[in-house]
Amino acid sequence: MSNLFKKIASKKSGARIALAIIAISIFTASVGREVYFTKVSVVPKKDSVASVKAFMQVYEVLTHPRCMNCHPAGDIPLQGEDSHLHAMLPKRGVDGKGVYAMKCSNCHQPTNSPGLHTPPGNPNWHLPPADMKMIFQGKSPRELAKQLLDPATNSHKTHEQLIEHVSFDKLVVGGWSPGEGRELPPGTHKEFVAKFKTWIETGAYVPSADAKAPIKKNR
């Protein structure tokens, strides 16, 4: 390359300009490469201990009644801090939005209804659909992590889409404003998202079969 530059530089001034352009191009390319490598270096390294630790905190949120009550093992949603079957026994239906005169949004309004023991609200209140139930109830940490990571059981989501979902889905976010008298999930929504990202970005490790759900107080 340097011989080529010497040949070009020994010619007329037009050639000097061409040399300058080539030099600028090489400089720009090297700067671009440098930026690229800098970006790669900030991606967290895989760390199974940190990943599993983060997931166990995510698990505490996902199995809290505010999240789990709409991810039941059966086709009837759960209710209350003790996750009992929903009064009136409404059914999931094909699309997760109920059946006949018992559709979720018949009672659950776009916003929380005022007062104790009134229906909490959300513009799109629903359970997961019948063909993708995404059950949280009764799942061990290992089972739930595997379910969340498998596109066949997580509603066909990539890791990025999972993070997007927990960050912005209105029903997820609504768990932290559940209406009067209802307990909040552990931590803030922001902390939950941060733990979820840590879990994924440090390798999305699945807890061992020995990992147990933490003992929950007052439930």
Partner: protein, 156 residues
């Protein structure tokens, strides 16, 4: 002013947007067929149709109903001749009657979506409508009868 489309008529009312639809129907429009039961969407006495769905009007704010079709028991049929209303009379379903307009409005959604309901379908659809007189067995029988009348009506 707020405009509500109730039983195919436009009503202009002066009310707060967060007033429960039930209050507007009963107190402002005089449509008292729809009843107040629990006030917290637990009993079904206040059931009306909002764009065809059986909403609980005691917790439904007026603002949700603006621009939508509201149907109350008074507007279910022009001459009280909906198959459910006929069957209700035939089977003498009501005892005190307080919950019955809500029951019929819920059953109407069931029959629209499922013209041949089983006992289980009826239970699934009607579980949100409570009857303190315990007329459930007559309600179930009347729904089966109304389904039959609806099917025969469509054949003729």
């Amino acid at each position: 002013m707020t405009v509500l489309n109730v039983n195919e008529k436009a009503y202009e009312i002066d009310a707060s947007k967060d007033m429960p639809l039930l209050w507007a129907l009963r107190d402002l429009l005089g449509l008292t067929g729809t009843k107040f039961g629990c006030g917290v969407a637990q009993c079904g006495a206040c059931t009306v149709h909002l764009d065809g769905e059986a909403v609980r009007s005691c917790v439904t704010k007026i603002e949700r109903a603006v621009g939508k079709r509201i149907t109350t028991i008074e507007g279910l049929s022009p001459d009280s001749d909906h198959p459910l209303q006929k069957a209700w009379i035939e089977f003498d379903v009501p005892q005190c009657g307080y919950c019955q307009s809500g029951q019929i409005m819920s059953a109407a959604v069931l029959l629209r979506e499922n013209p041949t309901p089983t006992d289980q379908d009826i239970d699934d659809a009607m579980a949100g409508n409570i009857c303190r007189c315990g007329t459930y067995l007559r309600i179930r029988a009347a729904i089966h009868q109304a389904a039959k009348m609806q099917r025969e009506g469509k054949k003729s």
